[in-house]
Symmetry: C2
Subunit: 492 residues, 2 copies
Amino acid sequence: MTVDFSPSRPCRVSDIPQWDMEADIVVVGFGAAGASAAIEARLAGARTLVFEVAAGGGGSAALSGGEIYLGGNGGTPVQRAAGFEDTTEDFRRYLMLAGGPAADAARVDLYAEQAVAHYHWLVAQGVPFKGTYLPGKWLEPTTDDTLVYSGSEAAWPFAQQARPCPRGHAAQLAGWGAGKKLMQCLMDRALSLGADVHYSARALTLVVDDHRQVLGLVVRIDGAPRFVRALGGVILCSGGFISNEAMVRQYAPAALACSVHTSAGNDDGSGIRMGLAVGAATIQMEQFFSTMPNMPPDSLVKGIFVNEAGQRFINEDAYHGRVTHFILRQSNSRAWLLLDNSTFARPLTNQDVEVHAVGESWEEVEGELELPAGSLTHTVQAYNDCAAQGQDPWFHKAPEWLQPLTEAPFAALSYSPADFPAAAFTLGGLSTAPTGQVLNGDGDIVPGLYAAGRAACGLPRWGDSYSSGLSLGDSTFFGRQAALHAAGTIAS
Amino acid sequence: MTVDFSPSRPCRVSDIPQWDMEADIVVVGFGAAGASAAIEARLAGARTLVFEVAAGGGGSAALSGGEIYLGGNGGTPVQRAAGFEDTTEDFRRYLMLAGGPAADAARVDLYAEQAVAHYHWLVAQGVPFKGTYLPGKWLEPTTDDTLVYSGSEAAWPFAQQARPCPRGHAAQLAGWGAGKKLMQCLMDRALSLGADVHYSARALTLVVDDHRQVLGLVVRIDGAPRFVRALGGVILCSGGFISNEAMVRQYAPAALACSVHTSAGNDDGSGIRMGLAVGAATIQMEQFFSTMPNMPPDSLVKGIFVNEAGQRFINEDAYHGRVTHFILRQSNSRAWLLLDNSTFARPLTNQDVEVHAVGESWEEVEGELELPAGSLTHTVQAYNDCAAQGQDPWFHKAPEWLQPLTEAPFAALSYSPADFPAAAFTLGGLSTAPTGQVLNGDGDIVPGLYAAGRAACGLPRWGDSYSSGLSLGDSTFFGRQAALHAAGTIAS
């Protein structure tokens, strides 16, 4: 038999010596998607094995802000308690915009209809939501409040196409990092329901029959390969590929500009490669989330970004990840955030931000930045004139963020990935049906194989219009769908 | 046995009734890559079968301008005869820029070193190059001249990083459409060398063994499946996927904005799907060539493009496909080409272009376009001031194209895909080694399978920096490499 296993070489069942373990459902990865899949599998009565490569569970979700993007059906209890109504149609429209040109309407429809039910499911698993709304612009709540605007809902052009509503639901926790709390709840629940979770267990490759039906998995435990039979299917919840530089270089090279990986370190793309090896298609592999946050504090949003031509290029009140993608596309990926004395602050996540220029006049700042004469000064003057009237005819920043930048001294913060460490994770992955079933290039099902979370291409699939909470919402919900479908195949 | 064949379901050799045909090398598609592969295979003494789905050969290449991007090694005889010297290093640098962030250095190095030899090979196959240079900016030579600038060589930022040189080598033909001439030469040569070419023959799926080695192909001829054994390999030269709307929607959704397909109609992605089905990886699937040409005539290049904010956004002397990609990324994909009386013309390829606004002053044009007050007028004024001094500090248009736009009347041509039919073809495809061997997600070889032309992701893989001739250069050269490698495997 083969002893050199690789995700890209599936193992034929006729080549394995024996099955060492067996379950109805085998889950790879114990992050947000994997834990949700394991819970749902156990609730369906399926014998469930989970293999996690790290020494503990939680995955990249445990390092996150723990926001889950939820809404529709009039609103979640949290939204309604805070006085917000959220129609399914507005929610659906926003999700379609968030998906960009490749938005998957079937996936969006299912999620838009069931997100409130998903909220109740999360609560039932023990995830605490305090139910209070925190106004303002936040990366994640720093208080123990639950609900925040976490995307571009209130910003052009989103607000014009879908009625704005806050939809970022963070698990209740004072301070940052509610993802750890979220994952603790989900993992505890999966374990208490009897999921058999193995840590430090690396999934090596899939086991297939001669018809390329996926029958199981080869896992390395304690240094030895173990052959694991999956009667109802293997669910790949192994994360994206931001930790794998070779894959980033090959598939999402623009993300190489981002030096910070939003990952617990095991987003190595191995699940994606396992899927490819059995004929699956990958989609949106170039896409990634990226951010150099331009808030908090809020006052930074009142500043304006300019590029090397001294031009503005976006409404600065759009989601920080959208702003960042627009920056990355400017000439030489260079941009500066212009602030006056009344708006000046340093971004909370980068107190060491480079103040590239300071001046008593905008002419001085323009000169220090070595921008074309008259370029920045014209932009600021034109902006100030219109901002004073509460208008932004160029980029449609909402009136609440419009304030003339007229109080000296003036400053320009460098927002270029060369100066400002940009964070990123990947959005492309295996093509799947809303059931989590992995699809081949013709859109047909690869039998026995499921994927959820960032191993799959899910709701978030367009870097330009990501919103915080989309990945966790997608991972937890579609992890569940995969387990439900897989459990259904062994129900009889 | 299975009677329902699909590219996404490889056929197991144990499931086929018999081999109906056999060759050393089996080529799918008789376009630029396929014909070049067939020639090289026959020159190597390999028995060669070619299956072309259309009733005749030529593929999409036959509809093209027939330009081949060549240079390096001091220059091709054509370049040298016209007085141009072209170092391998300059050529290599330009090709790396053309590849964008995902540029493949190994592929670029091989091509940069061997492009002059490839020129001689083309000549030896009967492709005529008159050897004369046509100055100015052209989509392709309209005279029977051979050599043109066909990319962004002389434009910022390319010219600053690689010494400019014209590298578009068109087959000699008076008028447009030298691609037909090129393909006639290559096809005649392949046939005269004894390639066995079957037309109206649709490749249905690959035949594999239990280890997923590719052994052959199922082809539908006269309505019946025929099982074709390939001793040395199958070479997929089946084109890209611009003709397959479902694939474009899934993999390159931004290309949906382009209503004209640069294709002979059979770029249906079937070869890409066949590769995926045997575990191959696809790369750069979002990328596509696109154009709404802003020349000829040359005078249009002296105009400036503005977006909905009345801003310029590119040096207008960049390659027209680059200009188009920048337009597609502007807000609502809207842009206008501003011209004055001395530069006014209609683009040769779109005489029906919509003249969206005409005015005796730029204020009038700004008003007609309903742009923010003062936006367009400021842009034009600032441009005119600097253009009068031969400078473009914002976007670095080369001095020869700088001319103040001061002679009334003034006009704005709509360059938005909603008004101006944009042409496109896809650049993403199967991941391959420079040998043409198809690679899986780990970069390992899929045995027995090769791909070239737009079924593969080749030299051109970044829409922003495509140049005319890159696809034909890549297709003809790497089609040859695939055949050489495949022939080598059966040499013993």
